[in-house]
């Protein structure tokens, strides 16, 4: 356990070099490309507060950057070691793979939050009303909700990035098609990942600093259930393909 805790510094270093820099670069470029032309065009009319016409766009971009960052962070978190065969030397050492990957998931969450802290700091320079605290809260919530499912898929499949994207998009589409009907299909789609709650969660949590508790619990709970399911499969299944 102590050796694993010490190894978390290496895991964090890996995150920074392999994913964190990419996340910050993508987020910065995205923000720059979206807002810099608008800021120039609006000139002195640009206020950057909640009454600004671009405030809603800022929330949408911030929310999308969080989703993309989580996708980048958990992509191959378990399946990568399996595909490349790195598990062989890692787990011949006296460590528990379940704790190793649970720790990796937590370390990557810290990494995502640090990246979001940097990006929200940059965003605040043009949107002074943007709350870093609320944004980090939202990022943490989405990391658990979406990352938990990503973690499960990384344990269960080799193509987790693709699978997560299909699950995420598929859930949105199926919910929009069957969600409002009054038959068994509307009940069935309720079991799908609660992606429909993300937009409202972004608006309420990042924008106003408050969110519907049941929505937050539903999102976090859904992610946690899949995360734990991933750990159970890791414990009971085979490390090798």
């Amino acid at each position: 356990m102590i050796s694993l805790a010490k190894y978390s510094l290496w895991q964090f270093r890996d995150f920074v070099l392999e994913r964190g820099i990419a996340i910050v670069l993508i987020g910065s470029l995205w923000g720059y490309v979206m807002f810099e032309p608008l800021r120039r065009a609006m000139g002195p009319q640009w206020t950057g507060d909640q009454t600004s016409p671009v405030w809603g766009v800022a929330l949408q971009v911030a929310s999308a950057v969080v989703s993309l960052s989580v996708l980048i962070a958990v992509n191959g978190i378990v399946s990568g070691d399996r595909k490349a065969g790195y598990y062989r030397f890692l787990f011949s050492k006296p460590i528990n793979p379940v704790i190793y990957y649970a720790q990796l998931f937590a370390v990557y969450m810290v990494g995502v939050l640090v990246a979001m802290l940097i990006l929200s700091g940059l965003l605040r320079t043009i949107f002074p009303a943007f709350s870093v605290r609320n944004f980090l809260l939202y990022a943490g919530l989405i990391y658990v909700a979406m990352g938990g499912i990503g973690f499960f898929l990384s344990v269960a499949t080799r193509y987790d990035w693709l699978t997560l994207a299909v699950v995420w998009l598929g859930s949105r589409i199926l919910r929009s098609v069957y969600g409002s009907r009054n038959d068994w299909r509307s009940k069935a789609v309720e079991l799908l990942p609660p992606v429909h709650k993300l937009d409202e969660m972004a608006n309420s949590l990042i924008g106003r600093g408050s969110a519907d508790t049941s929505d937050a619990v539903w999102l976090v709970g859904y992610g946690l259930v899949f995360f734990v399911l991933g750990l159970v499969i890791l414990r009971r299944g085979s490390l090798a393909d």
């Binding site: 050796s3 190894y7 490349a84 062989r88 030397f89 490390l239």
Partner: protein
């Protein structure tokens, strides 16, 4: 099965495969039996070789021994614990057939990482890493990225990480794969140096000569089954092992006269067929007494080669 039980009776059992089977099933329902009804005990202090043709199941067996794969039948126990449980508690020095280390890691930092995971105390990590780097001749490559290492150097790095800790069990899968002759010999010396009464070593290899030199016993497997368990010592030399190649430095005519049935096998060499090792010794004694200077005596096929050919077939 010669040697199958006498070793375990004399020494404490460390590793036990009990009727182990592993069947791979595809999503379409096709199944392939990689290992079937495999039972074997390995004693403390023993060096056990695992030999078999490609696809015989060697790597699958090792993966089950490390707990990377779960058997579909039977159990693998190490020191009375399930394999995975043992590894998580104690660790095993393991060199895999394919050395997979992230290509961007540098050789030295890779070893520091593995040493951290192995639980080596902070104060000893650099000393221990320095020792294995020196032992495996990696000093000039220590700051290179893994992707910049040659196959042989990568293999040595793999072996270095397996030797970081003073492990009670070492598992080496095709350890000399990719090594040049100098390092192949050096590897043999290293393994000889690792032999200890409380350390058990498993070596899977295609190289029968290597196993003959290093192992106490060799499990010959084919099509996922244990075919034979062979003691590599000559005390169990079989009647089949009766052809020897004798090289002489002096007295060729005397050999031809004393052994008219001997076949000339090149310059200074004769192939001689005898019925036993005793007959070989008395023949040599006679030749030497007559003034023949014997340079070397080598069995045409080692005990292991002969057993392997019989168990697996000439085609392998």
């Amino acid at each position: 099965m010669p040697g199958a039980s006498d070793h375990s009776a004399a020494r404490a059992i460390v590793i036990e495969f009990k009727n182990v089977g592993k069947t791979y099933r595809s999503l379409l329902g096709n199944s392939v039996k990689a290992v079937e009804e495999f039972s074997l005990v390995v004693a403390k202090g023993e060096i056990l070789g695992i030999a078999g043709p490609n696809g015989a199941g060697k790597t699958t067996l090792i993966a089950m021994m490390l707990g990377y794969l779960r058997p579909t039948a039977g159990t693998v126990e190490i020191d009375g614990l399930s394999a995975r449980h043992y590894v998580e508690r104690n660790g095993i020095g393991y060199l895999s057939e394919l050395v997979a280390i992230p290509p961007k890691w540098r050789a030295y930092t890779a070893l520091v990482r593995y040493a951290t995971l192995a639980g080596i105390p902070d104060g000893e990590i650099h000393q221990r890493v320095g020792y294995v780097i020196e032992l495996l001749g990696l000093s000039e490559h220590r700051d290179k990225k893994v992707k910049a290492l040659s196959k042989g150097n990568l293999q040595r790095l793999g072996l270095a990480q397996a030797l970081l800790r003073d492990e009670k069990i070492l598992v080496l899968d095709e350890p000399t794969h990719g090594l040049d002759p100098v390092w192949t010999q050096r590897f043999r010396d290293i393994v000889d140096g690792l032999r200890r009464p409380d350390r058990t070593i498993l070596i899977a290899s295609h190289n029968l000569d290597e196993l003959q030199r290093l192992a106490d016993r060799v499990a010959i497997i084919d099509r996922g089954r244990l075919q034979r368990l062979v003691s590599t010592g000559y005390e169990h030399a079989t009647p089949a092992m009766t052809r020897f190649r004798i090289a002489v430095a002096r007295g060729h005519e005397l050999v031809r006269a004393a052994l008219p049935q001997a076949e000339e096998a090149g310059r200074d060499e004769f192939n001689v067929t005898v019925h036993s090792i005793q007959e070989l010794n008395s023949t040599l004694a006679n030749l030497i007494a007559q003034g023949v200077l014997v340079a070397s005596v080598v069995p045409e096929h080692s005990v292991l080669e002969q057993q392997f050919r019989e168990a697996v077939g000439e085609s392998s």
